[in-house]
Amino acid sequence: MTTKTEITAATLAGALATALTLVSASAEMGGEKADKEKCYGVSLKGQNDCAAGAGTSCAGSSKVDYDGSIWKYVPKGTCTTIKTPNGVGSLKAVKS
């Protein structure tokens, strides 16, 4: 097979070694993503990441602002600090 002569084990090993360096470099530069959490009751209508409830078909489909049964992804640790007209966000679904 001709491809085997182009791509040798040494080529692959060299590429993998370079790749490992690139990955650790980007991790050191803060390339890792911050964790997120599901936050209920903070989403504006149509802006939800997912909706739990009758009459909706999930992401982007909520019909009411700040619906307590509907969540949006927010940076981890910030959910309960988000202020809405109905109080702060909740990590659990809120019955309205």
Partner: protein, 267 residues
């Protein structure tokens, strides 16, 4: 015939009538729909029929917002109604509704002026699937640190369950991004085809535009090819393909979840 079987037969017969009547705006209400008082049954049934249609077209609008933006509300609504009347949902999970909508658009004469529309719909459908795909912990570079040089060629990757590629002869990622609010609307001067990479390594669905070599590399890995063969396929597609950069992207992008060396072809 036992009474039980008879009842099932009658029930499915009646349900078929009901289901057909629901999706046919010109049809009569199903037999057996009567009134005790008030509005005529056909008008009452029309309300029910309209609710079904509105919820189905609403589910399509929620899943295909960029398609809707490209063609406008009126066109989208009529296309969605035409689709829904021929394709009733087979699952109560509305987030999965519209799997066949991209193919429906591809066959739609009225959409022939926007030949890229079906591919934009394919991209949007893949985004929803990625959103609801299984979670999986991405493979890290450290997981491969112990692999010996001899087995590298035969390494096969398991890509993330949410990962999909949508290849298009149109600049599908650019068109989608412009109509999803990720890019400013502007005139597209380069109409070369693009492949969309859709993946959800953590919580967010990402849409990327890998260059031709990288797209061929991923497609080959996704097909279960060995690393050596995938690299050769990528180089055949584009002489600029940089294996080290693409391996790094595989790890840092969370695109793969497992790797194992196996000499035999799968199956």
């Amino acid at each position: 015939m036992t009474p039980h079987v008879f009842q099932n037969h009658w029930q499915s017969h009646w349900q078929n009538h009901w289901a057909q009547a629901l999706l046919d705006p010109a049809g009569a209400p199903p037999p057996g729909v009567a009134r005790q008082a008030g509005t005529a049954p056909d008008r009452r049934f029309a309300v029910y029929r309209n609710n079904v249609m509105v919820s189905l077209t609403g589910a399509l609008a929620a899943r295909f917002p960029a398609v809707k933006r490209i063609v406008g509300d009126e066109f989208f609504d009529s296309a969605a109604r035409a689709f829904a009347s021929k394709n009733p949902p087979r699952s109560p999970l509305m987030m999965t509704y519209g799997e066949e909508f991209p193919d429906f658009i591809a066959r739609l004469d009225a959409a022939s002026a926007v030949p890229y529309l079906a591919d934009v719909a394919r991209l949007e459908a893949a985004r929803t699937r990625a959103y609801h795909a299984d979670d999986a912990a991405p493979l890290t570079a450290a997981d491969l640190a112990g692999v010996s040089q001899e087995t590298l060629f035969d390494l096969r990757f398991v890509l993330h369950p949410s990962l999909e590629l949508v290849a298009s002869r149109f600049p599908v990622v650019t068109i989608w991004a412009m109509n999803a609010g990720d890019l400013e609307l502007a005139e597209i001067t380069d109409w070369s085809g693009e492949t969309a990479l859709i993946v959800r390594p953590a919580l967010d669905v990402e849409v990327r535009r890998p260059p031709p070599g990288a797209a061929a590399f991923l497609a080959s890995l996704a097909a279960g090819d060995r690393l050596g063969d995938a690299a050769a396929a990528a180089l055949a597609q584009s002489a600029d393909f940089d294996l080290a950069v693409n391996l790094a992207a595989l790890f840092s992008g969370g695109l793969a979840i497992d790797a194992a060396a196996a000499k035999d072809d799968p199956q």
